[in-house]
């Protein structure tokens, strides 16, 4: 019993990347540690992004299964977090496309040209908290294209490069969508309140 507890405790000290490496080597049991670390985050991401989908939690679970299936494609030299969110992003986008509840353009003009003004600026904690509150109140009204980067930046605390990796869009486009998303959110919130 002690050995088991010691083993679990030792595993919980490992980084996500180290755990992924061990799972790739065949230690599938350790996948439960990764799931327990990310379950809350991915479910929150699912519920915010797919706000009116009753099966958001099922889709989050599906994302974890896809993570396990594709774990051997993960490069342990890179960060695990954006990689697992990328898999979740793909699952959620596929669900939106299948159910056709929201328009999702095949091709986005935002990704063609650079946007030199859209640079990342560090936020104060108070600013982040205020924007997070507003997002939680009015997010449901916003288009998926702007909703997702707002969730990833303000609620999941990813930076521009990580969001670019999750959504597979240019880094400058992330900045543009955040700026436009905030502007639209402001208008929507003013209408509601």
């Amino acid at each position: 019993m002690d050995t088991n507890n010691q083993s679990i405790s030792a595993d919980s000290q490992l980084t996500d990347e180290e755990l992924a490496k061990k799972i790739q080597a065949g230690d599938s049991e350790l996948f439960s540690v990764l799931v327990s670390r990310y379950e809350g985050k991915i479910k929150r991401y699912a519920k915010k992004f797919l706000f009116n989908y009753e099966d958001a939690e099922d889709l989050a679970q599906q994302a974890f299964l896809k993570t396990y299936i594709n774990i051997n494609s993960f490069d342990s030299q890179r960060k695990f977090s954006p990689w697992v969110y990328r898999i979740a992003h793909n699952e959620f986008i596929n669900a939106i496309k299948k159910r056709k509840r929201e328009p999702l353009p095949f091709f986005d003009a935002d990704t063609i040209f650079p946007h030199p003004l859209a640079k990342e600026n560090p936020l104060k904690d108070s600013e982040r908290a205020e924007i997070s509150r507003v997002i939680n109140q009015c997010l449901g009204q916003l288009n998926a294209k702007y909703r997702e980067p707002l969730i990833l930046y303000y609620l999941e605390n990813f930076d521009y490069n990580e969001i670019a990796d999750i959504m597979r869009i240019p880094v400058s486009t992330v900045g543009v969508r955040l700026r436009r998303g905030k502007e639209k959110l402001k208008i929507l919130c003013e209408k509601i309140n």
Binding site: S32, V35, G40, N70
Partner: protein, 252 residues
């Protein structure tokens, strides 16, 4: 509520682990992803090769047909130039370049840059490689082969493209000079002569000193055996080669 959340979390984790243990969900092997990457790399090499081949073929056809000289003959020449460009090859080359960009995006972080940047990089690579490729006489040899034998694909490819520009143009040798211009014997029509009428509006990019025996390219309006020249340029037969097969659109 915390206790309920804990139980719900444990249930979800248990469900996922049960699916893994029961074999309902299986990890894809490392070799699967290696093969996938290898297939993408092979695709990139193949499409790059195709794009470079097409780009160099377009370059070859423009020179071999004399088409590249036409923009220098004024607006009329420019019009014929655009009408006679190998648009089918250009379209396939552009589609190849876009396909190449999509494949490169799969195995690199090229998506972090705006599309215009990596499209420009892809086409810069294609054009640079095609300039190197053009130094080797592959297209000349394949074109000569297509004239001698009916080789599948190659024959039709080289016979269809690289023809001298049809209609409103003529390549021929100056047989004699006249009061109004020249008499020209066309290169691809035997026992025929055309009366070339030169006016003050005729464009001479190489200068007006043209003499008997020289081969020239003429564009202009043709009526029976008279051609009112809009542009006349010296034609270097070493640089521009007529195809080793009958022209598909003989000058009429």
């Amino acid at each position: 509520m915390d206790e309920n959340n804990k139980i719900s979390k444990q249930t979800a984790i248990r469900e996922i682990l049960e699916k893994i243990k029961s074999g309902k969900v299986k990890m894809k092997s490392r070799s699967y992803f290696m093969l996938e990457t290898a297939a993408i790399i092979f695709g990139i090499i193949f499409i790059l090769g195709l794009a470079v081949f097409l780009s160099s073929a377009i370059h070859f056809f423009l020179h071999a047909s004399g088409l590249w000289m036409l923009p220098g003959l004024g607006f009329a020449g420019l019009k014929i130039f655009f009408l006679n460009l190998p648009w089918d090859l250009i379209a396939v080359m552009l589609i190849s370049g876009i396909g190449l960009s999509i494949l490169i995006k799969q195995i690199s972080s090229a998506y972090r840059q705006p599309i215009i940047y990596w499209l420009a990089a892809v086409f810069a690579v294609i054009f640079s490689l095609s300039i190197i490729f053009v130094q080797y006489p592959l297209h000349q040899k394949l074109r000569a082969l297509s004239g001698n034998k009916n080789v599948p694909l190659i024959s039709s490819f080289y016979q269809f493209h690289g023809q001298p520009p049809c209609a409103a143009s003529l390549i021929g040798e100056i047989a004699s000079t006249t009061e109004y211009g020249f008499i020209v014997a066309p290169a691809n029509e035997q026992d025929k002569e055309y009366n070339i009428i030169v006016s003050p509006k005729t464009n001479f990019p190489d200068g007006r000193k043209i003499k008997k025996g020289e081969t020239i390219l003429i564009i202009g309006n043709k009526k029976e055996k008279n051609i009112k020249a809009m542009g006349i340029k010296k034609f270097d037969p070493d640089e521009i080669s007529l195809p080793p097969f009958p022209a598909s659109c003989p000058i009429k």
